[in-house]
């Protein structure tokens, strides 16, 4: 196997608040190869967005990357000077945020915001930049692109704005795109348009993507690999079909079972009992044990490490599910 494009090793990002240290990301590791799409899933508070922000070096106090490595082509971004990070952001790694209302500047035209990306990261002259912007807007499905460059974000609908955000993210030809809940704010028919657009654009350009979402259905349609986070740790990862088809970790299984299944309609949904524990005050041993139907004495003593299971799966569980127990 060739060296991965991005390799995250034992990343730890903590927030030092008055009420204690929030270990939002606590020892997360994964690799992404060129052209791969990885889904980063989990519930609110799982730490998935913080992973994305950490990669881009966008963690502000009271947060801090406490340890680990983020290797882009073997070069560590943790502790890299701001100047170096600026050359990485946009050009190597770009980001698509959840809310297209707030991720565009309402005071500047769309054209100016697109132009800025090229001005900072390429040597193109003004006419070439304009031509590139028009071409990019057209390729994300915005008609009358030349005219639309002069429009302000409020003149676009939500779906159109997200197309603009994607166009900006793609402009400088990044090799990795981090998309943080890119379609959560959109309606389902628009979501399906945007997901198809992103999949095509990523494939055409040979770029890689980290798709951060809480929606297992979206990742299962988009991603090659899935990494499941719970309380700041990776609890399971593997190929999408293995993770969705026969997960080894009871948390992943619980998430899948919580989605109503139209084929077997029961009167009750299976549910994960309880709520996500306070991350400042995690239980000793496995963080999931208080909600886990399989928990035993061992789970209260030792935090299970992420170990290889069957097929492509890695799971952090003392009593993983077997393939025979698949849903």
């Amino acid at each position: 196997m060739t060296a991965p494009l991005l390799s995250v090793r034992d990343l730890r990002t903590h927030f030092h608040t008055f009420s204690g240290v929030v270990k939002a990301v606590n020892g997360v590791s994964f690799d992404i190869g060129a052209g791969q799409v990885m889904g980063l899933v989990g519930e609110s508070g799982g730490g998935k967005s913080v992973v994305g922000f950490s990669i881009l070096g966008l963690i502000d106090p009271p947060g801090r990357i406490e340890g680990g490595q983020i290797l882009l082509d073997g070069q560590d971004l943790v502790g890299a000077p701001e100047e170096a990070l600026r050359r990485v952001r946009g050009r190597q790694i770009s980001m698509v945020f959840q809310d297209p209302m707030t991720s565009l500047n309402p005071l500047h035209t769309v054209g100016r915001q697109m132009d800025e990306m090229l001005r900072l990261h390429t040597d193109l002259d003004a006419p070439a930049r304009k031509a590139a912007c028009i071409e990019m807007l057209e390729s994300v499905g915005i008609s009358r692109a030349a005219e639309r460059l002069g429009a302000y974000p409020h003149q676009f609908s939500g779906g159109m704005r997200q197309r603009v955000v994607i166009a900006i993210a793609l402009l400088a030809g990044p090799r990795l795109i981090i998309a943080d809940e890119p379609t959560t704010a959109l309606d389902v028919t628009i979501q399906s348009q945007i997901l198809k657009l992103m999949r095509r654009q990523i494939a055409d350009r040979g770029a890689s993507m980290i798709l951060i979402t809480h929606d297992l259905a979206v990742v299962s349609e988009m991603a090659d690999h899935i990494t499941v986070l719970y309380c700041g740790k990776v609890v399971e990862r593997g190929l999408t079909r293995d993770v969705i088809g026969a997960p080894a970790h009871p948390y992943t299984r619980g998430l899948i079972d919580s989605i109503p299944d139209p084929r077997h309609r029961q009167t009750r949904l299976s549910q994960i009992p309880g709520t996500v524990p306070d991350i400042r005050n995690l239980p000793v041993g496995c963080s999931f044990r208080e909600r886990c139907p399989r928990a035993q004495a061992l789970c209260a003593q030792a935090d299970p490490p992420l170990t290889a299971q069957r097929a492509s799966l890695h799971a952090a569980c003392h009593f993983p599910l077997t393939e025979a127990e698949a849903p």
């Binding site: 519930e43 609110s44 609908s157 779906g159 159109m160 309606d187 389902v188 028919t189 628009i190 979501q191 399906s192 348009q193 997901l195 809480h214 929606d215 297992l216 259905a217 979206v218 299962s220 349609e221 969705i244 619980g254 998430l255 899948i256 079972d257 919580s258 989605i259 109503p260 299944d261 139209p262 084929r263 309609r265 009167t267 009750r268 949904l269 299976s270 549910q271 994960i272 009992p273 709520t275 996500v276």
Partner: protein, 340 residues
């Protein structure tokens, strides 16, 4: 038997456009101040029987939440009838609505915004009850009822003295449900009750709502954009688009044999972790038009892959296509135009 809720030709318009000076126009030497009208709900009719769950689905701006809020009489409808137990409540005043509200309660989407942050949980839950009895209910009785309700929704007596910010999203939604149940309603209007919650918590709240329905014989008007949730909870499904009801059918019929192109597009667009349903895929281009300027004819024709001349000229009305299954689409008359 009279249905629990019978909505007939409900229309809801909102005037927008700001103050007089924003709207002032000079045309042909005259001063005009036209009102812009948002046609949020355009002649929607449906019924809900006792113990039945009707889900309204559709994308943002389709008017499903407006229907819910109009029935709950948060808004006064522009026209149409809202019959609860056979009695039209569409134009009742605030005071006359009070006994109606004992029959009908609402659960809101956002568990953070729908609870007063300055009230303790016990006061939040008891408030509708005190309102109904004009504050004359015996204190001990109210306390007992409040604690029983909290226990029923999975909270305990210790929670009664806390404030909303001390609870998680799922627990707050439980408080909202307890508040709605305090007056023993027969109809609950639930506007996206689980869409702000994580999926594992969603399942807990849906299970609670189903248990309560069976136990208390509740009817629900359930507003949601999530088709898998709707498939789980609903007996009947109404699909709305741009303020119109375009299809209304029993759940299984709607999911197995959707007839309206919009319903089919919704079903094929919904991502799923299971195999896709066996329905010919319809992909929509473009976005929902503005409710300020409704298209002529069929509301859906600007995005419909099958639209032809008749769809611009004539607005389709709901017609029966099967057992209790109605659709508003000209394709029903001319099925040969369906090219999938």
């Amino acid at each position: 038997m009279t249905p629990m809720l019978d909505v007939r030709s409900l229309e809801q318009e909102f005037a927008i456009g700001g103050g007089l000076f924003d709207r002032l126009r000079f045309e042909r030497g005259r001063v005009l101040a036209p009102r812009k009208i948002v046609h949020a709900v355009n002649g929607v009719s449906f019924t809900i029987n006792r113990g039945e769950v009707l889900a309204l689905v559709g994308e943002s701006g389709c008017g499903k939440s407006t229907v819910a809020k109009t029935i709950a009489r948060i808004y006064r409808p522009t026209s149409g009838e809202i019959r609860i137990d056979g009695k039209d409540v569409a134009i009742l005043g605030h005071r006359e609505m009070l006994p109606v509200r004992a029959r009908m309660q609402m659960i809101f989407q956002d568990p953070f915004a729908s609870l007063n942050p300055r009230q303790k949980v016990r006061d939040i839950v008891a408030e509708p009850l005190l309102e109904q009895t004009a504050g004359r209910a015996a204190r001990a009785e109210v306390t007992d009822r409040t604690l029983a309700l909290l226990a029923r929704v999975g909270l305990n007596a210790e929670h009664a003295g806390r404030y909303p910010h001390q609870f998680s999203g799922g627990q707050r939604q439980r408080i909202g449900i307890a508040r709605a149940l305090s007056v023993n309603p027969a109809l609950i209007i639930a506007d996206e009750p689980v869409s702000a919650l994580d999926v594992s918590i969603q399942a807990q709240i849906l299970n609670l709502m189903m248990d309560l329905k069976d136990e208390l014989g509740l009817a629900y008007l359930f507003i949601s954009h999530d088709l898998s949730v709707v498939h789980h909870i609903a007996d009947r499904v109404g699909v709305m688009y741009l303020g119109f009801m375009v299809e209304n059918a029993p759940r299984d019929a709607l999911f197995a044999t959707p007839r309206h192109p919009y319903t089919r597009a919704l079903l094929s667009a919904a991502p799923t972790i299971r195999e896709k349903r066996d329905v010919a895929e319809i992909e929509l281009s473009g976005e929902v038009p503005s409710a300020l300027n409704l298209p002529s004819g069929c509301c859906f024709r600007t995005r419909c892959p099958f639209a032809w001349g008749r769809c611009t000229a004539e607005r389709p009305t709901l017609q029966a296509v099967g057992d209790d299954h109605t659709v508003a689409c000209h394709l029903i008359d001319e099925p040969e135009r369906d090219r999938t």
